[in-house]
């Protein structure tokens, strides 16, 4: 009888963690411009190009990519369980649509407002990600209200509400796109396709804390997630307080997605692909699937961003395009497999 135990957890996650560290190093060393490593380390705090390239431009975005890739993958796992649909992804909740709209409104109406933190001592946050996060919160509340019946979130309603909400938001965004001036439209477009471009360690730290806390909260629900995938009634009969767990998962993942999208724009397909790939490798037990997907998601997005920087140098391809480039064919492959097998994988 093969079951999940501590040894397997440590083995799998250990290997993935190692790969993650190697990826951070690799992605920081690769890029469209050549890097002189020794000079970078010699001049850690001096205004020297190599040091600035490595520590001020590459490292922050690699670290951000790891966090967002991991967060998206983890949310994908729990949403597939919550909606009992192996083809669910974070974008379906409607939260990312709300975040995009908030961010775009911020970009149009106050792109240069800056909010100093700690009286300016701790750095600044632009209004755009804040507006995006507000948009995320608002849409989370709306979708929640439309799906909550008798204290339970019905997966069917949740899915519908999220999809309809997204379509509505997309229409508004297209309308805005048609009335803004040409150069705002360019900004809008790049923002919608995702970018991990950042130099603010403050932002990176903030996202890391957020994503990690959210992930830990969700990981603690791992056993409940297993039971939920068996069906709502079965889960209840096996001891899950289904209403409470559903609400917690929804809120935790919505907050995570909202925060991530507000910083980096829409990066899709990570939340769809990584859970599937990891399910094939480590099985469906969410207690292992969650951390494994988290780590794998980080590795994937780190390299996707590196490819985004390298592909059309000196220009940067929006990272959402890279993930879609992998994700589209992958999705088709999944559908093909589903048709051949009895059970949706």
């Amino acid at each position: 009888m093969k079951v999940l135990n501590r040894r397997k957890m440590i083995q799998v996650n250990g290997v993935l963690f190692l790969l993650l560290i190697l990826s951070v190093i690799g992605c920081s060393l690769l890029g469209p411009v050549p890097l002189d490593l020794s000079r970078a380390f010699e001049n850690l705090f001096a205004p020297e190009p190599n040091a600035e390239i490595l520590f001020r431009t590459r490292l922050p975005r690699v670290l951000l990519g790891i966090a967002i890739g991991g967060g998206m993958a983890a949310c994908g796992v729990v949403l597939q369980a919550l909606l009992r649909n192996p083809l669910a992804c974070p974008q379906m909740l409607g939260v990312s649509g709300g975040a995009s709209l908030g961010g775009i409104l911020g970009l149009i109406f106050f792109p240069n407002w800056i909010l100093p933190i700690g009286g300016g001592l701790l750095g600044e946050i632009s209004w755009v990600p804040l507006a995006a996060f507000l948009g995320a919160l608002l849409s989370m509340v709306l979708v929640y209200r439309f799906s909550l019946f008798h204290g339970r979130l019905h997966p069917y309603h949740l899915l519908l509400a999220g999809v309809i909400f997204n379509s509505f938001i997309a229409a508004i965004i297209m309308f805005l796109n048609s009335i803004v001036d040409f150069y705002q439209a360019q900004s809008l477009l790049f923002w919608l396709m995702g970018s991990l471009s950042t130099r603010a360690y403050l932002t990176v730290a903030f996202i890391w804390i957020y994503v990690l806390l959210g992930f830990l909260w969700l990981w603690a629900k791992g056993l409940s997630l297993n039971l939920i995938t068996l069906g709502e009634e079965t889960a209840m009969q096996l001891g899950v307080e289904i209403g409470s767990v559903q609400r917690q998962i929804f809120v935790a993942s919505s907050l995570m997605i909202g925060a991530m999208v507000s910083v980096s724009g829409m990066i899709g397909f990570v939340g769809l692909m990584i859970p599937h790939v990891m399910r094939l490798i480590v099985g469906s037990d969410h207690r292992l699937l969650l951390p494994a997907s988290f780590l794998a998601g980080g590795i994937f997005l780190g390299w996707a961003d590196t490819l985004a920087r390298l592909l059309l140098a000196p220009a940067e391809v929006p990272v959402g395009i890279i993930t879609a480039f992998f994700g589209g064919p992958f999705f088709l492959f999944l559908l093909y497999r589903e048709g051949r097998k009895k059970v949706a994988l």
Binding site: L4, Q237, K342
Partner: protein, 262 residues
């Protein structure tokens, strides 16, 4: 000794439509009860209320306590449900499924311990699914899947076993095997068994006490030979049958007649 299950004037309605009307019944520990009735009589709804999926008006007590005072984890250690047909969209192995029955026994943040693995193994052996432990559920036949569901229910180490038309999708051989196993569990382990059935002959064969539901009310409740009579079946099922005593099995059996024969 408190009653295993007790309901008092249970009423349940979907909006305007009343599904269960003043259902009062008592089940003692170790009893084996079959609930029969035509489609729409409220069998499944009753089972869902007993398993705390639905909440009706009126009193429902398990082991002497109001069902609403229980937490779900407690409930899942008290009773287990074997569903009609398992619908699992995700690839789990048999062992993983059975172990999920232990979820309410161990700390949710920890892995399954020795006791849990042992309980799972024993219930799989009992249901002859041990050899299937590492196979994927979706690869199994209907009968094998049903046995896995029973294994999971047994792994919960419940006092009460609720079965919802468990033989609905099984072939003849597996139907008989299933109820035989259930009866053994009742006799050897004093498990209280409550099952809804559509097959009256199987009910008569295996269940000492039968409750007949008709249009949301209890029509008859008692020993099977008193309850499954020609009049009852004609009233409730609106079909003419002949009931004859089978000496070999010490139970009556129902013979159908075709309406056009004289």
């Amino acid at each position: 000794m408190s009653l295993a299950i007790q309901t008092n004037n249970l009423v349940f309605a979907y909006g305007e439509r009343v599904v269960l009307n003043r259902v009062s019944l008592s089940v003692e520990r170790g009893e084996m009860i079959g609930i029969v009735g035509p489609n729409g009589s409220g069998k499944t709804t009753l089972l869902k209320i007993l398993s705390a999926i639905l909440t009706g008006k009126g009193e429902v007590k398990l082991s002497g306590r109001d069902i609403r005072t229980y937490k779900r984890r407690e409930l899942s250690r008290l009773f287990a449900v074997v569903p009609q047909e398992p619908q699992v969209n995700f690839p789990y192995t048999v062992a993983e499924i059975v172990l999920m029955g232990r979820a309410s026994h161990h700390n949710p943040l920890a892995f399954e311990g020795e006791m849990d693995l042992e309980a799972a193994r024993k219930s799989m052996e009992l249901t002859e699914t041990w050899s299937l432990a590492d196979r994927y559920l979706h690869e199994l036949s209907g009968g094998e899947k049903q046995r896995v569901m029973i294994a999971r229910a047994l792994a919960q180490e419940p006092e009460i076993l609720l079965l919802d038309e468990p033989s609905a999708f099984l072939d003849l051989k597996h139907q008989v095997q299933l109820f035989d196993l259930v009866r053994r569990l009742n006799r050897e382990r004093r498990l209280t068994i409550v099952a809804t059935l559509h097959d009256l002959n199987l009910a008569a064969l295996f269940f000492p006490r039968i409750i007949v539901l008709s249009q949301g009310e209890i029509y008859r409740d008692g020993p099977s030979k008193d309850v499954l009579t020609e009049e009852t079946i004609r009233e409730v099922y609106e079909v003419k049958v002949r009931v004859q005593w089978d000496e070999a099995e010490k139970t009556q059996q129902i013979f159908l007649s075709s309406p056009s024969s004289s």
